[in-house]
């Protein structure tokens, strides 16, 4: 399955997902109001240090900050322009720290555990007719079909290039959507044949139709 999860074992992996989410929320509450640069530097270093405690494969993941760098550069630039150098430094470091901490939870928690931990959050959705079972099924379907559609896209791309098509890859999106619609009809039929979204068992305990 496509996931950022780091298959590995560390002290953070062993903590329950719900607890990690609460810790993350608490850490955000502490970090967000801080406006002193010195403290922000301390927080950033502490967050980076947490990656080091995960071992070799842990600290290598510090490079996941990289896609954020252009954004940070632009933000700093605009702060410089506004003459708020100090403030800019604080907010850039705050972003890095928050990113590192949130990402740490993702790295050390399985998607299924995260889903489980979020169940209390999803419960109110039942009031508007979205059952946890339907939601679990939708997540499973999406995770399964994303790679399938990437394959569809790749074969469309090959066919397009075989016909001599070049750069304009957006032209492949219409056929991709058409194929996805056809695929969804087949999948829906298959699902109905197996008892429908409320009948198919994600957990075998429930036998209600």
């Amino acid at each position: 399955m496509i996931s950022l999860y780091l298959a590995h074992s560390s002290w953070l992996h062993r903590l329950p997902a719900g607890f990690k989410l609460c810790l993350l929320a608490a850490a955000s509450m502490i970090i967000l109001p801080v406006t002193q640069l010195e403290w922000m530097v301390v927080f950033t270093l502490a967050a980076a240090l947490l990656y080091v405690t995960l071992g070799n494969r842990g600290w290598q993941n510090l490079e996941m900050v990289r896609p954020l760098l252009p954004f940070l550069a632009v933000i700093m630039l605009f702060h410089l322009w506004a003459g708020s150098f100090y403030e800019g430094g604080v907010s850039v470091l705050r972003l890095v720290t928050m990113f590192l901490l949130a990402n740490l939870v993702t790295l050390t928690t399985r998607m299924s555990d995260m889903m489980e931990a979020l169940q209390p959050v999803f419960r109110p959705l039942q009031w508007i007719g979205i059952s946890p079972r339907a939601l679990a099924l939708a997540v499973a379907l999406m995770v399964r079909f994303a790679p399938v559609l990437v394959l569809v896209m790749n074969s469309l791309d090959e066919a397009w290039r075989a016909r001599g098509g070049r750069k304009k890859k957006w032209r492949l999106i219409a056929p991709l959507i058409i194929q996805a619609i056809r695929l969804s009809d087949h999948v829906a039929e298959a699902l109905t044949a197996r008892g429908g979204s409320s009948g198919i068992s994600v957990r075998p305990i429930e036998t209600r139709r």
């Binding site: 950022l4 907010s91 939870v105 995260m114 979020l118 379907l141 219409a174 829906a188």
Partner: protein
């Protein structure tokens, strides 16, 4: 429309948005060299192809799976980290962009499809999206409103091109499968 079909459609369309983000270097030519991803194109199309409610749910599902830890945002980003980044406002705004695009399509039923899709995409996929994204940037970066707006302005031309492409795609999908677009079911 039965329940299974709706559920599968929502899930598979979310997978389409994911596939658009997973494509390595989905280049859309634009001036200024600002990198563009096909993902916001996916939002516009969600609203057009699925209508407001299913479009909203589909994009919300996509965001949920990203939050669970799937690296499905363009550039392989994902996990809780993206909700702590400067672009969090945009990500939160994604489902609402699809919702408004779908609502606009309903309002513009009498206008021809290309124009309706173009206007809907601009309103939903640009105006609404930026209405979420810019305040998000203000909160996360402590830039003032004008500064954040200026920093993000470079993306506008690219987004206009995406709205145009969304309209073209809607047109060719409808041509291939008449009746597939919710707000256009009467027209053959």
């Amino acid at each position: 429309m039965n329940k299974d079909r709706t559920l599968v459609q929502i899930a598979l369309y979310a997978a389409v948005i994911a596939a658009l983000g997973l494509l390595p270097k989905f280049n859309i030519p634009v001036a200024g060299g600002v990198p563009l991803t096909a993902q916001t194109l996916g939002l516009m199309l969600a609203g057009i192809m699925l209508g407001p409610v299913r479009g909203f749910l589909s994009v919300a599902l996509f965001i949920l799976v990203v939050a669970l830890g799937a690296p499905l945002l363009a550039g392989g980003r994902g996990g809780l980290g993206v909700f702590a980044g400067p672009t969090v406002g945009f990500i939160v705004g994604f489902p609402f962009a699809a919702l408004v695009t779908g609502l606009m399509m309903q309002q513009l039923q009498r206008v021809n499809l290309f124009a309706a899709a173009l206007i809907s995409s601009i309103v939903g996929g640009i105006l609404v999206l930026y209405a979420f994204g810019i305040p998000g940037m203000v909160v996360m970066t402590s830039l003032d409103f004008a500064g954040a707006a200026k920093a993000i302005l470079v993306f506008i031309p690219g987004d206009l091109i995406k709205a145009l492409i969304a309209a073209l795609i809607a047109q060719s999908v409808l041509r291939a499968m008449p009746g597939i677009i919710p707000s256009r079911q009467a027209i053959v």
